[in-house]
């Protein structure tokens, strides 16, 4: 019980900072220590970070596999796609979307950029409800691109120059290798029309990422197809975010701390399973909730972290003021 109370009262911000930093070092530099976590990681551990990556983001091999000739893809040999997906799911079910909130190196970089903005005293931006609804669809567009463009390549409707389309657009390809001193991805490739279009768009998106993350918390997570892909399988996960609507006073604290501006986390007092497609499971909502047991994290049906009055008071620094 003491352990449970300690967890409920923990300084989530500090825990997350150190957890994210450790995960960042592991995924971005682990390759230098010969750590190899495979090629089905459910997070942006970028495969273009050749010298340092300890594992590869699943979206890269997925796009490669889907670009195989249809005769092969839709044959028994196509089982390899399912085996890759199976390994991805094994990783994913353990942590659900907490891969985004606690492990994703690109997410961590965005949090660091946000910390810089806070230090500089510049206020952050938010989306209006209307903007939120429209922009949150973009991740599904990216998801469709990363599935159907490779399929079109396999069907010989597009040339291989359009291969791995999302990776070409993803800012992680440019940003993460920089941490190993690799600047090689910062180029426009003019060798073909496809490469030129994709790399130019990729560079433009990288520019948007850098300033966007400065102005808006977790700017890119809003457009991330990995988040959309996660959501498809989130019901399978053993890691759940739960809400007890009858304990919620709709005070809105959880919404105010949410980097992703997810309104139902405060408004929805009916759903028990409160995980939304934009959620990154950073658990800031649980930490900021003053109501005992209104929000909680369950692993295999067992509550491991929940909102408590004591935890809220401690985290808000109200204890000292008393």
């Amino acid at each position: 019980m003491k352990i449970k109370a300690a967890i409920d009262h923990m300084d989530l911000r500090r825990f997350r900072f150190w957890f994210q930093l450790s995960a960042f070092l592991l995924l971005v530099y682990g390759g230098r220590l010969a750590i190899n976590l495979g090629t089905s990681l459910p997070t942006f551990s970028c495969g273009y970070n050749k010298s340092g990556t300890a594992g590869v983001c699943y979206l890269l091999p997925l796009q490669h596999q889907l670009a195989q000739p249809w005769e092969r893809l839709f044959s028994p040999a196509g089982v390899m796609v399912l085996s890759g997906l199976g390994i991805f799911l094994l990783w994913f079910v353990a942590l659900n979307k907490a891969w985004c909130g606690f492990i994703c190196p690109l997410g961590t970089i965005q949090d660091w950029i946000t910390a810089l903005r806070k230090k500089m005293g510049i206020r952050y931006s938010t989306y209006t409800d209307e903007q939120f609804k429209k922009l949150s669809l973009i991740k599904y567009v990216f998801l469709l691109i990363l599935i159907f463009v490779p399929l079109a390549i396999g069907g010989q409707f597009l040339s291989h120059d359009w291969g791995t389309p999302f990776c070409q657009l993803c800012p992680a390809r440019m940003i993460i290798p920089l941490f190993n001193g690799d600047f090689s991805q910062w180029v426009i490739d003019f060798s073909s029309t496809g490469r030129m279009v994709l790399t130019a768009l990729g560079m433009f998106i990288t520019g948007l990422f850098l300033i966007g993350s400065f102005l808006k918390k977790r700017f890119f997570c809003f457009f991330c197809p990995m988040g959309a892909f996660h959501y498809i399988f989130s019901k399978l996960s053993i890691f759940k975010l739960k809400k007890e609507g009858d304990k919620c006073t709709v005070c809105g604290d959880c919404y105010r701390v949410c980097d992703m501006q997810i309104k139902p986390i405060a408004d929805d007092v009916v759903s028990k399973d409160i995980l939304m497609d934009d959620c990154i499971l950073c658990l800031k909502c649980v930490a900021s909730c003053p109501e005992q047991g209104a929000l909680r994290v369950d692993i295999l049906g067992k509550t491991v972290f929940e909102s408590t009055k004591g935890g809220f008071v401690k985290r808000m620094g109200l204890e000292a003021k008393k």
């Binding site: 010989q156 409707f157 040339s159 910062w186 073909s192 029309t193 790399t199 560079m203 520019g207």
Partner: protein, 356 residues
């Protein structure tokens, strides 16, 4: 210096003239577009994959160069195959869609060498023509912790005339040869390096260069920088720059009116051509003997080997433009957000109350 360049020019002309016009080589480009459907592009060219078992199919081609060639209907020469562990077997060539073809399985990762050799005597001269192909089997699914020695070229001690491509620095199974790369080939006769063998390299775009092997049997070429900002499906532009003494833009650079056999297959939806340079080596030795009762006074050995190079990404990429594009993205959103914020700031307006 001037004398040296003129003498080299004469030598180059003479040496290129000494090569037989018609060459024979092993290619993985099938003669029939239908056959392409069963193949897929892998590391090292086209392969057939059945239940994760890789196999390579090579076709014997004959012609004046990569542009003007056709598959050979029948092959009466000897065939040898060296596997990744350097074990040599003698597979048989088959006839598929009226073309001589060699098919072999590649169960292990690494390079397989295939050799097809023809021998004949004409005008008291023994002509030994060998077509060699290096076939790579590598699947990323098997991981990348393979023994790096497997990347090294395999050498057949009993080859009539052997040529091996020395590997690039830090070459692995993923390494591609790019235009502008410096390639080194080692020529061996009776398992020993030979100097002064004539070595010619021609590319699909018609660039031809000749040289001779040095004391260590090594011939060095720098592949021409001929990549341009053109889609691989679009017509490729001609190489630029003036031909130098040791660089001749061959007539073959002009595309033939009728497309060559494998050019027909490089349509919009076809696989990209994977063999786009042809290396040939000729070595003549005063050797006496008999073949099928025909005596000869000298022997001319020829070996050909196909290879591929692709556009140099560094040569067709721009870092300055990349920075410009990212800068454009940065500024667009930065300025846009700043203006949006300013527009939403309500200017101070004094509110007056009429207290009367």
């Amino acid at each position: 210096m001037k004398y040296r360049s003129v003498s080299f020019m004469i030598f180059a002309l003479l040496s290129s003239a000494s090569f037989a016009n018609t060459q024979l080589w092993l290619s993985d480009q099938p003669p029939d577009k239908e056959l392409l459907k069963n193949l897929q592009q892998s590391h090292g060219g086209l392969v057939k994959i059945d239940n994760e078992l890789y196999s390579k199919q090579l076709w014997l081609r004959k012609g004046d160069g990569l542009f003007k060639s056709a598959t050979v209907e029948s092959a009466s020469g000897s065939v040898h195959l060296m596997d990744t562990q350097q074990k040599v077997s003698e597979p048989v060539m088959e006839k598929i869609t009226n073309s001589a073809s060699l098919q072999f399985q590649m169960p292990e990762e690494g390079f397989y060498n295939a050799y097809y050799t023809e021998r004949s005597v004409e005008n008291n001269r023994l002509n030994v023509t060998t077509a060699k192909a290096e076939a790579l089997k590598h699947s990323c699914r098997l991981g990348h912790n393979y023994d790096r020695k497997l990347v090294n070229p395999n050498q057949w001690a009993d080859a009539p005339l052997e040529v091996i491509r020395l590997r690039l620095p830090e070459e692995d199974f993923h390494t591609r040869i790019h235009s502008g790369a410096v390639l080194k080939f080692k020529v061996l006769y009776k398992n020993a390096p030979v100097s002064d063998a004539l070595v010619k390299l021609e590319t699909q775009k018609g660039w031809v260069n000749s040289t001779t092997s040095d004391q260590e049997g090594i011939a060095t070429f720098q592949i021409i920088q001929d990549n341009f900002a053109a889609d691989s499906n679009e017509e490729q532009k001609k190489p630029s720059g003036k031909p130098t003494a040791d660089t001749k833009i061959a007539e073959a650079n002009k595309k033939p009116e009728k497309p060559a056999e494998h050019e027909k297959h490089s349509g919009k939806h076809a696989m990209p051509l994977s063999d786009n340079f042809l290396l040939s080596v000729e070595y003549v030795v005063p050797e006496k003997g008999q073949l099928d009762g025909k005596p000869y006074q000298q022997a001319a050995y020829t070996v050909t080997m196909i290879g591929s190079y692709s556009p140099n990404a560094q040569g067709s990429s721009s870092r300055a433009q990349a920075l410009a594009y990212s800068g454009a993205g940065f500024l667009t959103l930065g300025i846009g957000a700043t203006l949006y914020r300013r527009r939403r700031l309500k200017p101070f307006r004094e509110v007056g109350f009429d207290e009367n």
